[in-house]
Structure formats: structure tokens, C-alpha cells
Symmetry: C2
Subunit: 239 residues, 2 copies
Amino acid sequence: MADPKSAPKQPKAKHKRGQGVATVYDTIKREILELRMAPGSPVDETKLTERFGMSRTPIREALVRLVGDGLVVTLPNRSTIVAPIDFFELPQFFDALTLMYRVTTRLAATHRSQDEIARIRELRDGYAAAVAEKDVSRMIEVNRDFHAEIARAGKNHYYTELFERLLDEGRRLLRFYYSSFNDELPEIYLDEHDRMVAAIEARDVTDADEIAHAHADQIVRQIQSYISADRRENASMSL
Amino acid sequence: MADPKSAPKQPKAKHKRGQGVATVYDTIKREILELRMAPGSPVDETKLTERFGMSRTPIREALVRLVGDGLVVTLPNRSTIVAPIDFFELPQFFDALTLMYRVTTRLAATHRSQDEIARIRELRDGYAAAVAEKDVSRMIEVNRDFHAEIARAGKNHYYTELFERLLDEGRRLLRFYYSSFNDELPEIYLDEHDRMVAAIEARDVTDADEIAHAHADQIVRQIQSYISADRRENASMSL
DNA sequence: TGTATTTTTTAAGTCGACAACAAGTATTCC
DNA sequence: GGAATACTTGTTGTCGACTTAAAAAATACA
């Protein structure tokens, strides 16, 4: 993982009032999701103080918010750490992810505006571009944004919030395993994305649901296969 | 709503290190859910400072957490208020609530332990007792706990968290309208609760789903009827 | 008298410092 | 020499004060 020393410090930057926490929050969140901060690694308030060139108060507030997002865990009176990836609750994660894929896509098919279709299409193209360039980290990020935008078009913020949280967690998982571009899955995803957008634009709820379901299953299988591949690797070490 | 002056101050209480925020958080959360703090009313950090006898820092942290829960809203640089009840997004609320009722009850039917059944039964009895005493506010609270316990038995914390949030929001809505005990609904709920527990214990997923669905519809209809009754009242004023 | 502008006030955002707590480390006693 | 105890260290939790943004009040102007 990234060495704290190599992290860009910005002590001179005089943050505008009210921008402080937002900056810290966004930066740390991104670093956690991109696995630049390892799950389980300690988060030192004092170091962040130096790094962001501000006092502990705004840093602390940002961390409290991250705790609310489930991305950071604080052990009372003793160290706060980046939320570990809990492999035992992966089945529950998959279940919730699949359901939210379906529900948000269904709702999008019902409530989408033409404007939103355009924005979704843009993200679809962004994903296609990332695939063409074989840029894995960009693929993961844009894919998340693509589905988040669809969820937003469904206009139910209860679902949207949970879904974004699940997508973020998925982002960490994919980052964790999906380090090399070595299969044909992205092409399959791209095709499914196209069909998904088409169904949403046609307001075909049944179709949208079906595609979302298949898409979710595909992703779950992908993650599971990476995990079992990883297990096999580790298992071989004990021979 | 409760006058700040009448609120019990506790300046002397020397809270143990680490208990400060928890106390403030729990207290304020409860007051918001019980509508002792009116939706949209300002939350003054300084007043809370006096009331809880501690500095602004822990108060602030509690508020940040409540913002994360969606129970408090902060307008940047200017006032933080108790989250208003947004009537325009009630349909989305109902949709999510219904889905979570179904999903959590289904999962409970699959994953419940005998222990959990016992705890659920206890809460069922608590609800029955509240109905017998015609204690509306207790009914609302115990009902929430009953369903939250079922969700917990389903053992998917993604669903549980969202569901509890929805139940809490529902608690505010019911409090808002359901001030007098004047109909036969509680009896119907009680019956549905019984059938729900039975289905969960029998591990009958289909049945559990059906009952949960009906139960959710019942509650949604209840809230809607209170709202339309309220609308009629307001409408009559403009004549 | 109505509107634009300045002043005041209120509360949020930030800061540096101190106190308390839990581990790790050194020390003492048997 | 080993274990119990005291000390050191690193961080978190809390505090009181200061700074600044934005609303409300007051004033000036047309």
C-alpha cells in the first residue's frame, strides 16, 4: 500500500472555511476505495493533521462521517482503522447488491427522464473507453458511476444511498482481486450495459429487471471466482 | 413541542470519557424520533452545551452522526435543524419500507435461531400489552423494535440498517398523526404479527413474504389515510 | 415610504492545548 | 528468573477561545 511519506502533503493550502472537512472526507474516502489505504490499517489523526495542514477538529469530523459510511472503524480510546473487508459477510453483501441492482434499474425504467438517459449514455461510453484502453481502475470507477447514475434516475434516495454504499464496497473488492486485465468479462459487461440502457429508455420494467439480475449475477460470479482463485493460490503454499 | 427550559439539564453529571457523545447522540435521537424536537426546528449547539454540561466538541460529533442518520440537517455555516418530514418523498418511503418489510421477514424465516424466535415473541407480547393499555406511544416504539428484531434475525446488516432507518422515519410519521387511539387497526396488526412469527418459526418463506407484504400495505394505508384526513382539515380552512 | 447598504448579531468552523486512557516498557520484589 | 507493578508513550476525548460566514437589524438614501 501507499507509503504515508509518498503521499502529497499540502500544508500551505489555506482551505476556505467549510471546505476543510469536505476535502479531507473526499480525499480519504477515495484513498480507501482505491485501496491506497489498506483495509485494517491504522488511521492516525495526527499524521493527517500534518498532511492536510489543518487542526485535528476537521479531520476528526471527516473520520466520524467515514465511520457513518462504514469505511472506517474506531476502537474506543484506541486507534481508528480503515474498515476491514469482512469475507464472512460476503453472501449478505451479494444478496443486497443483487436486490439493489434490480430495484434501482426497475425504478429507472419507470422514472427516467430523457436528460438522465443522456447522462447514463455518457457514462456507458466512458466505460467503453476504459475497456478499450484496458484501464482497469478507470473501468471499476466508471462502472460504479454508471450504475449509480441509473439508480439516481430511479429517484428513490433510500435505495440510491444503500446502492452507492454497496457499489463502493464492491469497488474495494474488485480492486483487491482484479489487478490484471486478462479476460473477456468487460466485453460482456459492455453488452449488458447497452441492453440495460435500452430497456430503461424503452421503459420496459420487466426487461430491465431481468438484465439487472443477470448483470448482478455476473458480477457476483466474477468476484467469487477471483476469491476462489485466490484461495487456491494460498492453499498451494501449504503443500 | 418541549420547551428547552423544561428539558432536564445535567450540568453536574461528569460523563466518563467516551460516554459523552453516546449520551448526547442517544438522547437527541430519541427526542427527535418522539417528536419532542419538532421537524425543521433549529438545533442550537450552544444550548445543548449548557444542557448536557459539556463542551461543543462532543455535541458536535453527536450531531455529525445524526446528520449521517438523516435525522439532522445542517445548512452550511448557518443553523442546523431537525430533519423535516418530506411529504413529497413519501411514495419512495413507502416503496422502500414495503420492500424492506418483505426482504427482512423472508430472511428471518430462513436464518432465524430458536433464541431469536423467543426474543421476537417477547416483543410481540410487549406490543400486545401496549395495545391492551391503549398506550399509543409505546405501541409505536415496541412495534418498531419487533420488526427490527425480525430483521436482525435475518442477519443481513445492509438490510437491517436501512430498515431501521425507515422504521424510525415511520415512527416520526405515526407520532405526527396517530395521536388518539380510535380504531381497530392495532388488533389487526396484532393478528398479523402472530401470523408473521408463526411463518418465521415454520421457516415458510413464501408465507412470511406474503404476510409482510400485507402488513406493509396495511401500514402504508394507515399513514395515507391519516394524511388525507389531515389534508381535508387544512383544506376546510381555506373555504 | 420603499429599497439599498452598512452594521450588528448569531452560530458555525477551526484551532492549540490539556486530560484520560490503554499498550508497551522498564523496574522491583519474591 | 518470573511475575506483578509502576512508568512511559502514543492517541484519543474533551475543552475554551478565536475566526469567519451569513442572516437579521439598523441606517441611509432616493
